[in-house]
């Protein structure tokens, strides 16, 4: 019940994120007050809708929630300050990216809130897509292997073992490197590659689960009864084995859905920018990017100084999002399993 | 393989029953003679409920019966009537959440096994549902368990339905049997060892006699072995010698006397062994004292404190809690005489249940034996401590018909030989007819009829008993029409009011819905709980 509630919240966020006004990019808001740039603690700038921001003379005030680049508005003068200059002071709520890949014309500060919202779409979508694909593949393979047994089972299980031995992160990194080196940089292809990499790594878990369940189910009397009535093997698998084997899959799926954003975060943290930011936000990447600044900040400010200046909001909020999301999916999976099991229905 | 252990293909002359058809005489027990015997177990108004999420399952509602020495009482009923629950309630083996023996008395050896029930828990009904919250005082419940634990196994022994799952699969059979023996009769074992005389001319002479008897016949071997045991003042040594002789005969060994003498010399106790045995005996007697005090928790605490001064607290604790057969902290050589004594006693126990090759069986593991053999082993474990009561929960249901016949035969024989009172729980009326003296028929948690076995079958009074007897197919009555009882067993969360059988009874009257019929005496020894009869009520 609780899980359902939280999940509905996320679903709502998802839908909101889909409809968040923007073209294909993240809306950006700049705020500069009283001619100071970058904003300081004395004049922080919030990007809440009801805050009035003033802009340096000669610049054009951007419309709320709109993204502006020199291309879209020739009168727009983006700030030129870079991260290294703005050490210690940057607007609360903004998103910080490492400077290495910035180009001077790129905007520097982004809105965490909007990144999170947009990120919902991407994160949830990616997680669900990857897990579902992996689960379906694993289900298919596992059900067939478990039902037929014999040498089919042996062969498939050995193949599964091979796939199980591949570490997830390494494969994704390898795929990205290969992809980048062969020039496929666009978002969709990257996503596809990462998706394929994940599915390759994830499906064996499902296959194993489904196989062990189908080994049990195929010995049940009702399967024998169905065979006695002339059911073909395919029908038995589709109508009896799979539906009765699918309960543990739900559990595993719920666990995995929460894990994927963390995995992506881990990969981004290592340094492989998965998604051409800042256009494609994703919770894990956002958190990782925020965490990346920790080291240089500590180096340059020392511990005391760093406490005020690390973008904690950038690390904590995406993390909280991942946490609540996987928690809610877990609860939902439990509830779903109980609801679907007729024996527990009251 | 199991075939090697169980099938007596080797010369088996120890004690298998002869293949010639044997008549199985049922000892004539008339009602009057049974009444005259002393009562061993007196169960009064046992009420057991299970407090579940769906409501309160009223499993037992006022079950009362008396079990007399040496008789076999059969408790019959169908699934869900509460017969197993009765057995577990008496020895407090009901899983305490969610079950609870709400009230009742079970008098055994003069004390109430179910003492203190009222103080252990409080019941709080939950408004608006059928549920009841039970607030237990777990300290008191544990104390009660400790009290009853002293009686289980030794005063009341039990055997269960699935023999293949009743034993620990990782320990050999002799280990499990020895555990029971050392726990309950350890002092006997130690005393026997201490006063054995394994040396001396008498023993040597007996050993030579044994060797000579090998060539004569099996009976001679048995006699010679017994004589040897007497000479050594240790009967289990006689058993050991018997099997050595048998082995010698099979493999043709010639130095039997030498071997026997060597085995006897092992019984000579060294100083360390003697000290060990003395300590063990002391521990065992302390244990026994602690166990014998099951009436009052306070006295137990006192005793523990007293004895703790004499032996280290740690040793006492490990001894009371650890497996007695393991003897932690003691060298194997030191504990060997005791362990071997326990082993041969276990073999003796297996002999009493007519297992043809007890040494092999004792050394084997539970998974090597078939269901029938395991059930015999269980029976031997149960009877090894001479309990006053044996409670058997469907002992033959899981066995094949021919094996069932063997086990029932065995139980009949043991009954006449040893004289333990047996509470036999089963759903098979035919088994009851073979083995029981008296029968109690249960339905939905209540005893509806109690009678001597002949009376019950020739003149069943309660409509449920009549219905049961009509629905059983009989091999000797092929044209008998099987009448089924309409309806089904009631849900014990919402039991029918009044007499619980009234929805299915062909003779139901208006009063049956309102009041529960009391147990009345219709004929001497034959009690019924039904409004169709109005005899004098049963006097407790």
């Amino acid at each position: 019940m609780v899980g359902l509630a939280i999940l509905l919240l996320f679903a709502a966020l998802f839908v909101y994120g889909l409809t968040y006004p923007a073209s294909s990019s993240v809306p950006v808001q700049y705020c500069a007050t009283n001619g100071e740039w970058p904003p300081t603690a004395a004049n922080p700038c919030f990007d809440a809708p009801n805050v009035v921001c003033t802009y340096p003379a000669g610049t054009v005030a951007p419309a709320a929630g709109c993204y502006q680049t020199p291309a879209s508005n020739p009168n727009f003068i983006p700030p030129t300050a870079t991260f290294t200059h703005g050490l210690g002071q940057f607007p609360l709520g903004s998103l910080v990216y490492p400077a290495a890949d910035l180009s001077p014309s790129d905007p520097l500060f982004y809105n965490t809130y909007t990144m999170l919202v947009k990120g919902t779409v991407n994160s949830i979508g990616i997680s669900v897509l990857f897990v579902a694909t992996g689960a379906v593949t694993g289900l298919f393979v596992g059900a067939l292997s478990g039902y037929y047994g014999g040498w089919v089972d042996e062969v498939v299980m050995r193949i599964t073992d091979i796939f199980l031995s591949i570490p997830a992160i390494l494969l994704v990194i390898a795929v990205i490197i290969v992809g980048k080196s062969s020039g496929l940089v666009s978002f969709n292809t990257t996503l596809l590659l990462i998706g394929v990499a994940f599915v390759i790594v994830w499906w064996p878990f499902y296959a194993r689960i489904v196989r062990s369940q189908s080994l049990v189910v195929r010995e049940q009397r009702y399967v024998e009864a169905a065979r006695a009535c002339g059911a073909s093997n395919g029908r038995i698998i589709a109508r009896h084995v799979v539906p009765n084997s699918v309960y543990p899959v739900f559990v595993q799926m719920s666990l995995d859905v929460g894990t994927i954003p963390l995995l992506l975060a881990a990969i981004t943290f290592i340094g492989f920018i998965l998604f051409p930011y800042p256009l494609i936000p994703e919770w894990g990447s956002v958190a990782a990017a925020g965490a990346e600044v920790l080291t240089p900040v500590f180096e340059q400010c020392g511990v005391r100084g760093a406490v005020c200046s690390i973008p904690w909001w950038q690390i904590i909020f995406p993390g909280l999002c991942i946490f609540f999301f996987s928690l809610s999916v877990n609860f939902l999976a439990d509830g779903l399993r109980d609801a679907l099991d007729p024996r527990l229905r009251r | 393989m199991s075939a090697a252990v169980t099938t007596p293909q080797v010369v088996s002359d120890a004690a298998p029953p002869s293949p010639v058809p044997v008549a199985a005489p049922v000892p004539e027990v008339s009602a009057s003679s049974v009444e005259a015997r002393p009562v061993v177990l007196d169960v009064r108004n046992l009420v057991t409920y299970f407090y579940t999420y769906d409501g309160v399952v009223r499993a037992l509602e006022g079950v009362s019966f008396k079990l007399r020495r040496g008789e076999t009482l059969g408790l019959v009923g169908e699934t869900g009537c509460g017969k197993s629950v009765t057995m577990f309630s008496i020895t407090r083996l009901i899983p305490d959440p969610p079950g609870r023996v709400v009230s009742g008395k079970a008098l055994f050896r003069g004390a109430d096994l179910l003492w203190g029930l009222g103080a252990e828990a409080r019941f709080i009904p939950v408004k608006g549902t059928n549920r009841v919250k039970v607030k237990r005082s777990f300290r008191k419940v544990k104390a009660a368990q400790a009290r009853v634990g002293s009686v289980r196994g030794q005063g009341i022994a039990m055997i269960f339905q699935e023999p293949t799952q009743a034993m620990n699969p990782i320990f050999p059979i002799y280990d499990q049997l020895s555990e029971v023996l050392l726990e309950h009769r350890g002092e006997e074992l130690v005393d026997g060892l201490m006063q054995a005389t394994p040396d001396g001319p008498a023993v040597h002479a007996a050993a030579d006699a044994l060797e000579r008897s090998v060539r004569v016949s099996d009976d001679a071997i048995r006699d010679a072995a017994r004589a040897l045991g007497e000479a050594a003042k240790l009967p289990s040594f006689g058993t050991q010698a018997f099997y050595m002789a048998r082995q010698a005969r099979v493999i043709g060994r010639t130095n039997l006397a030498e071997d026997v003498r060597r085995a006897a010399s092992r019984l000579r106790l060294s100083g360390a062994q003697r000290t060990f045995l003395k300590n063990e005996r002391e521990l065992m007697s302390i244990q026994r004292e602690l166990r014998s005090v099951y009436i009052s928790e306070m006295r137990r605490g006192e005793l523990e404190r007293v004895h703790r001064g004499r032996l280290s607290a740690r040793r006492l604790r490990t001894r009371l809690r650890g497996l007695p057969y393991r003897f932690p902290g003691v060298k194997r050589r030191t504990s060997r005489p005791l362990r071997e004594e326990a082993f041969w006693r276990a073999v003796q126990a297996l002999e009493t249940v007519q297992i043809a090759n007890p040494v092999q069986v004792a050394r084997g593991f539970p998974h090597e034996l078939s269901g029938g053999m395991l059930q015999r082993v269980m029976i031997s474990m149960a009877l090894s401590c001479d309990p006053e009561i044996l409670m058997a929960d469907e002992p033959t249901t899981a066995l094949d018909v021919t094996i069932q016949a063997q086990i029932l035969e065995l139980m009949n024989e043991l009954r006449t030989r040893i004289g333990t009172a047996i509470l036999l729980i089963t759903h098979d009326l035919a088994v009851i007819a073979e083995v029981a003296d008296r029968v109690a028929v249960m339905y939905a948690g209540q005893i509806v009829e109690m009678a001597p076995v002949k009376s019950l079958f020739t003149r069943p009074m309660h409509p449920y008993t009549q219905g049961l007897l009509e629905s059983i197919p009989r091999v000797d009555q092929p044209s008998k029409k099987l009448e089924s009882i309409p309806g089904s067993v009631p849900n014990l969360i919402f039991p029918p009011s009044g007499c619980r059988y009234h929805p299915r009874c062909p003779h139901a009257m208006p009063i049956c819905k309102e009041q529960r019929p009391p147990m009345t005496v219709e004929q001497p020894g034959h009690n019924v709980a039904c409004f169709l009869y109005n005899g004098p009520p049963v006097v407790e």
Partner: protein, 423 residues
Amino acid sequence: MLATPGSALSGGDGTAGNEHVLFSVRNLRKFFPIRGGLFSSHIGDVRAVDGVSFTIHEGETVGLVGESGCGKTTVGRMLLRLIEPTSGHAFYRPPPDVVDRIEQDYQAIGMTPLPEDGGAGKLSPEATKALHDLDGLADKYSLFRKKRKEIKALRARLQIVFQDPFSSLEPRLMVRDVIAEPLDIQHVGTRAERMRRVDELLESVGLSPEHAWRFPHEFSGGQRQRIGIARALALRPEFIVLDEPTSALDVSVQAQVLNILRRLQQEQRLAYLFISHHLSVIRAVSDRVVVMYLGRIVERAETDELFSRPLHPYTQALLSAIPIPDPLLHRERIILTGDVPSPADPPSGCHFHTRCPAVMPICSKVSPPMAEVRPGHWVSCHLFPPASAPGAGGAVESPAPVESLGSMDAGPLTTTAEASSSP
């Protein structure tokens, strides 16, 4: 007594004759391979069914009795082809003249003495001809040689009711789906027609149509077994294998279920193979009884004949071991020694010789052939040898000769050692 072909005594089962034969089972065998050793090599066989022959006629109940491990469940499943046999035939609905021919062929083959009995082990020309004829008949009538499509159509007519009422119904389906499933598999009728039939079936087993909307776990054991029977009846079968249908039920419920089964048999002219180890139930239900021990048939007769005059020592022991609910009856019981041997390592010769009270030296060497001692009463015991000189007739089934000659007797499979298995 010689069973002459064409007489009413042939057909393998005496007085029932060879009209309306539903199944004529011959020399059915099922060996499950034991794999062991380093490379899971084939080190032996569990001889679950070792040469079983009997006949089932339309509308009759054949009781198959034996203790656990004797192979009776396997036989039942083989008749439905849920398990593939290692060798043997089951002729389905052979016409009377074919029954006679089968009989003749087996007699011709059966006369070949076994190698271990001193014979040469080679087939005589008549035997070879008979074998070929048998092969041809098997192609036409044997259940085990039918193709997939034919089998699917046949499955509608051969059904099974299982022992355990708790696992035989799929727990996540409603009762109506459970019963309608056979109809669905065989594509019978429209959805509405199927639901009507479900209601019909529920009523015929004594449940009400409103029960169709509940789940199996809401019913008691007896009711679930009745649902299982309703499911078996859905396709209007002519033959139902009842695999210990009442062993898990209480006595009063058992009576209900048996009464329902009897009524249905009379209404719909069903044939039952009633497998059980409760002899009292078998006596109440069966027309003819087959007693099995460790994979072989030891005795076969009509019910009354078997129970009043049991000939085989095992049958006698079995009958005397049944506890009778009558305390006034003092019986002489034959208590067998020892336990049932394992089917993986059965005793040589007659499997029962290790426990038999009447064992003779020959029993451990040669397995006894099946002989007709009285009309319709067949026993496999050396106490009752075939009446004429050995090898000349009477004995219809010698367990081995066709076996040792290899694969011509087999159905879809080849030699026994390579029997595939699905335990």
